[in-house]
């Protein structure tokens, strides 16, 4: 059997838990997360890295999981939407999206929230144009983005108060 057709084991940390996943080496991390790890919160919108619905954090970097072959996830620390809310308590970004209409149909929301969280981890007080740029890899067809910007700004306030 050619090497590429043999399933491999990949060890990584997903949402704080060490896991061992079995998959073809070139399988998309998106599919492995959804089908092997059962984490269906990460969505597929385009499969070509344009829409950002499949955004996750990998070693602190925001990536499109549809473009990552699973073998690259060996040893990685991964965060998905399922790792955002702790013990039934929504994170500040999630609360803000809920309160300010940042989610409509909800399909871009997991990726958008990951992108927002990643942006705020790098820049706790982004300006509006920094928010626009930070989220420009995540497409939303419902909101026109205005309510998403408001949600991110509200999340900044919540995080500031919570400090």
């Amino acid at each position: 059997m050619p090497e590429a057709l043999r399933r491999i084991r990949v060890q990584c940390v997903i949402n704080g838990k060490g896991v061992s996943l079995e998959a073809y080496p070139m399988a998309r991390l998106l599919d492995v997360l959804r089908e092997e790890a059962g984490l269906t919160g990460t969505k597929e919108g385009c499969g070509e890295g344009e829409c950002g619905a499949c955004s996750i954090e990998m070693d602190g970097v925001l990536v499109n999981s549809c473009l990552v072959p699973v073998l690259q996830a060996e040893g990685a620390v991964i965060r998905t939407i399922e790792g955002m809310a702790g013990a039934g308590q929504l994170s500040a970004v999630q609360q803000a999206f809920l309160a300010h209409g940042g989610a409509q149909c909800g399909i871009c929301t997991p990726g958008m929230i990951l992108a927002a969280v990643n942006l705020l981890s790098r820049n706790a007080q982004p300006t509006e144009s920094e928010i626009r740029e930070g989220l420009s890899g995540n497409l939303c067809r419902c909101t026109g983005y205005t309510k998403i910007f408001e949600s991110v700004m509200e999340a900044c306030r919540l995080l500031e108060v919570g400090k």
């Binding site: 959804r34 984490l39 269906t40 919160g41 990460t42 969505k43 597929e44 919108g45 385009c46 499969g47 070509e48 344009e50 829409c51 619905a53 998905t80 939407i81 399922e82 955002m84 809310a85 929504l90 999630q94 999206f97 809920l98 309160a99 300010h100 209409g101 940042g102 989610a103 409509q104 149909c105 909800g106 399909i107 871009c108 929301t109 997991p110 929230i113 928010i131 626009r132 740029e133 989220l135 420009s136 995540n138 497409l139 939303c140 067809r141 419902c142 909101t143 026109g144 983005y145 205005t146 309510k147 998403i148 910007f149």
Partner: protein, 742 residues
Amino acid sequence: MKDPQIGKAVPRKEGREKVTGSARYVDDLTFPGMIHGVTVRSSIARGRILGIQFGEGIPWDEFTIVTAKDIPGKNCVALLIEDQPCLADQFVNHPEEAVVLLAHADKYLLEEARRAVRIETQPLPPVFTIEDSLARKQVIWVEDNIFKAYQVEKGNVDTAWEAAEFIVEGEYETGAQEQLYIEPQGMIAQAGPGSRVTVWGSLQCPYYVHKALVRLFDLPKEQVRVVQTETGGGFGGKEEYPSMIAGHAALLAWKSGKPVKIVYDRAEDMAATTKRHPSRTRHRTGISRDGKLVAMEIDFTLDGGAYETLSPVVLSRGTIHAAGPYSCPNVRIRSRVVATNAPPHGAFRGFGAPQSVFALERHLDRVAAAVGLTPEELRRRNFIHEGETLAVSQVVREKVQMDKLLDRALELSGYHEKRKRFATENARGPIKLGIGFASFLHGAGFTGSGEEYLASEALVTATREGKVHVLAGSTEMGQGTNTIFAQIAADALGLDCQQIEILQPDTALVPNSGPTVASRTTMIVGKLVESAALSIRKTLQDAGLLKAEYGSKEFQDACCRYIEKFGALQSLVKYQHPQDLHWDDGTYQGDAYGAYAWAVYVAEVSVDTRTAEARVEDFVAVQEVGKVIHPVLAAGQIEGGVAQGIGFALYENIVWQEGRMANGQMTNYIMPTSMDVPNIRVYFEEIPYARGPAGAKGIGELPLDGTAPAIANAIAHATGADVRAVPMTPEKLMELLESVHA
């Protein structure tokens, strides 16, 4: 009693699931033993099918293979008529027509198998443009390529030209547009001879899918069940095509005896599913010396694609909206939708109106210039008022304040100041600024007698524990149905939204509330929910179980006692058409819609004359939509619609090659990103509509109508370019700019 929930930004009903990633969309579901399905499509636009070849190297005996001959009932996707086959048999009429279905447990092998199937065809000459179709270059539909035509006559246009001081003509075009919901279409089906057919999927209209499956399988209605899963955007794109995918998944499930999932990837979704109808509109307008419209002659044509599908209805709405919110004594509108060998065009938010409104609002700016009036003064002199009649001779009985909306929109956008300032600023430098607007209306609900025909129903029930359930066929796809229904039911019962539960649309449980389209869900179905909830309250009060004033505990006790004494506590309400609304399908005259939303949108643009790129810098949307039920959701509807309108105006260009979309990827079909959309400033005027729930009218489609013409007028103002078409891509604008300077 609980404080009113209407008018408050209560949390989105299914919001928590959406922000935590636990909401379940169709592709998130798995059934035991489930296999996957794919579609093999035609390779040519028009021709005869000679045979199907299954290539070597694929273990075909492991596959479930379905063709037209496996269909137990009628081979059609039943909608208005039954012209579109579920699977092409003998002939193909567009290049994305489904011919063969395959299913297998291994998705990767399935993809190889799809590529190994070859449809042998004998090509026939196709037709791809409105012009060629009208010229009957090839006759591909009945005798004349025309699916449907309408004629609207008001006054006497032929004799009115004499009174015109000026006559202005123009031709305008709009392109196809992809809905581009971020969740691609998909279905899971379970079926088998002798058992019922059940589908779960991403869809707007459960009962449309139900109707199509009943016909396809020739089954009694109760043997078919359709369940809507969480739906990641629709915008009209999931109005009709889900019936096709549901049919395909169900046929594979029927033959294999296993649950079958079909989820399109983006490329297949963009190529095969419906888009906004391309249009061509011709205007001839007569104006008196004092700037009054004396005659409007409008010729409106849509490209329908290969099958009739919803085109007659799209054409109807486009036709009725073609003359706008103006009073003109003499109007003639002739319209038609023609056949071409492209995949059928279909519903997309606005449903024909964005096309005809674009033409009119762009035309009126040209008329104003020809007459020597400002764009705003021309509109002001012709706006419709209460008691006057629209083009279809509907007397406007609502309070209409177009003047006020215009004043407010111009003031909020700084229109006058900017017009002046840009004139001097544009004299220097390569960046030209412009500001333009559009004034328009949008009818809510089905056209004419449509609502009477639908006869929608909604059911409200209460449990022993005082929980209230709303059962309706109306779907949540992001626009907020669940939350709006909860608010309406809560206020009717004096409860909190949290006590209201909206049941998942499932044709085995919920009544047929009509399709979730046409800006009708809040206004029409919401009213049914309100009436049903009020009747529950009245039932409890009439039974002496509930006082005039009560809290949630008293309500719960009353429900419990009622159910113990009398049994189920529920109210089913059916739509009653208002007696004073009359519509004549023969003459196309009468009350086209029960209510209209009215609006004025202002766009500010910058055009870089070196690259011919236009950007929207500011956007003000002022509208009157009756009572606003939920301020955040309502603003979200407008903002999202304006963003789609910006895409329609500037970016979203479909490249056609032999009837096929050549740029079916998000990489080269460009929708607005967070960098392309300005702050969209939304303002509501609220004039309660007597027949809407708490006074609400429809809102969802409105923003698509006025955005593109406002932007086109702003580009014309910035550059002097005579913009006649959208999308106004840099390539097209560059040509126009060159002709301005030539």
